[in-house]
Symmetry: D2
Amino acid sequence: MTRLHVPVALRWSDLDAYQHVNNVEMFRLLEDARITAFWRHPDAADEPWPTAVLDTGPHASSHTLVARQEIEYLRPLGFTRNPVRVEMWIGHLGGASLEVCYEVHAGPARFDRVGPASGQVPYAKAATTIVVVDAITEQPRRITADERAAWEPFVGEALTFRRRR
Amino acid sequence: MTRLHVPVALRWSDLDAYQHVNNVEMFRLLEDARITAFWRHPDAADEPWPTAVLDTGPHASSHTLVARQEIEYLRPLGFTRNPVRVEMWIGHLGGASLEVCYEVHAGPARFDRVGPASGQVPYAKAATTIVVVDAITEQPRRITADERAAWEPFVGEALTFRRRR
Amino acid sequence: MTRLHVPVALRWSDLDAYQHVNNVEMFRLLEDARITAFWRHPDAADEPWPTAVLDTGPHASSHTLVARQEIEYLRPLGFTRNPVRVEMWIGHLGGASLEVCYEVHAGPARFDRVGPASGQVPYAKAATTIVVVDAITEQPRRITADERAAWEPFVGEALTFRRRR
Amino acid sequence: MTRLHVPVALRWSDLDAYQHVNNVEMFRLLEDARITAFWRHPDAADEPWPTAVLDTGPHASSHTLVARQEIEYLRPLGFTRNPVRVEMWIGHLGGASLEVCYEVHAGPARFDRVGPASGQVPYAKAATTIVVVDAITEQPRRITADERAAWEPFVGEALTFRRRR
């Protein structure tokens, strides 16, 4: 399976009083990776992420809502100047929603932005369920054929969470 | 079952570009409620939360680690000057860990800080698994009898998440 | 001179790795106090701040831009469950702009929301220059008579900053 | 005069409800650039910033305190995937303190990390006064000869702020 490899730079303010990236800020890193991977930006036209086919911002015709999230923190992440590498794939591609899966790893993303699963123990693994909604009605709308074509190469097996009770 | 009712004030910066409390910031509100409810602070000695029996900060003999989190966002939460009411209880009390369950509701917390489940549809429901660790060894340590006595009145049925695949 | 006394609750995440409210987060507290004091919110109609006469949000007919800020940090502020008291007044009321002055103090705000200067050494003192702009043209627009009437009772001597070079 | 050119990646969460980098978050970008430029990190030993001679973290023998800050916002900064370039220099190098000056510009930092002033209108210009303190006594301590040698090449004329009253 092919994954997206997205670099995300840490900030010193991501650390909490215990000198580790705070549990809430880890979701911030995931949000940053997800927006980079899925949203189209005018200023990035010359180097598009292969999956960046959603228009961005409150003025776009569609929005995305985050419906659920789940995370397991496996190792503490200290400050590093090197961006972390967020490996992403799609664990489920439904009619109007998708589940984005993530693993957070040390080390830079590959220059070509896609690659295999690293197979190492990540700092964290997580999943986010996103619903695509019409910006006017706020109702879910079907994922288009173009969106589906861009995303299908990255569909893979959904993450298994071991600490669920 | 008795719940803790913790008020948490919103900040305008909790909103994202869609004018709703951002999905990541929702975890920030839960962190704030959790720390209020479980951590003992010297400056709050005269009005202790019944469950606030963990010492706080990097110099305490024990730390807590967040091992997993899960959330479902049920309704968008806009800005309000009134604090939201985070209802909290303990869904599982283990040997060295506990699962904190939350529902985020509109309206102020009750003055007496505990109350029944509200029974309304919350903005979000969530759970956090916390592990108590020795501050020196960073290894899990057993929950003490005093901690258990403080927390057991708030043990109840764990949340059921409906959007899990 | 009469000041606005606005309570602002700290969050544990305001602390940085040194266990003090981070220098950047101090501006976040000021932003929170300023929005509480100057912006009208539908949900707060029954208990208006005397100066809350600006409509809020991107759909309002006017916006405010922050044009400059200045701060001196006088004492480190550790975590406290009690809200800090931000004392605010207007150091200059111009044609299309105003300078908001702040002192951050320990202890709760007075219930009546206005009071005299406390005269103690604050944790920080700061000033923000705000420009009122038309939401469509993004050009400065004159402060209205109603706004001026609401704000004039709080005009006082502007802060003096001692550490300017 | 030579400046440090530090790239800082934006995050979508830096935007506020007006779709611009929030006035408080601008200080966060400056903090990030300042820490990159002045703090030594073990993991960055192979590619040191020329000025990165302060040890970092609560366990270091010295800390730095932020004593004052000042900023003028000159143009709104929207979201961009490309890092902004924070140009930094030292406007004053005192016995135990220094004033760091900044301009925030579009476009990447030069690969060699130092360069001339760009001469363009920045998004913002700002200054931070930092005091070096002993970590035990919390009292100011003299800047060492090594620190001074690292920083002197970057001493230049302090910023002039035009909107001061």
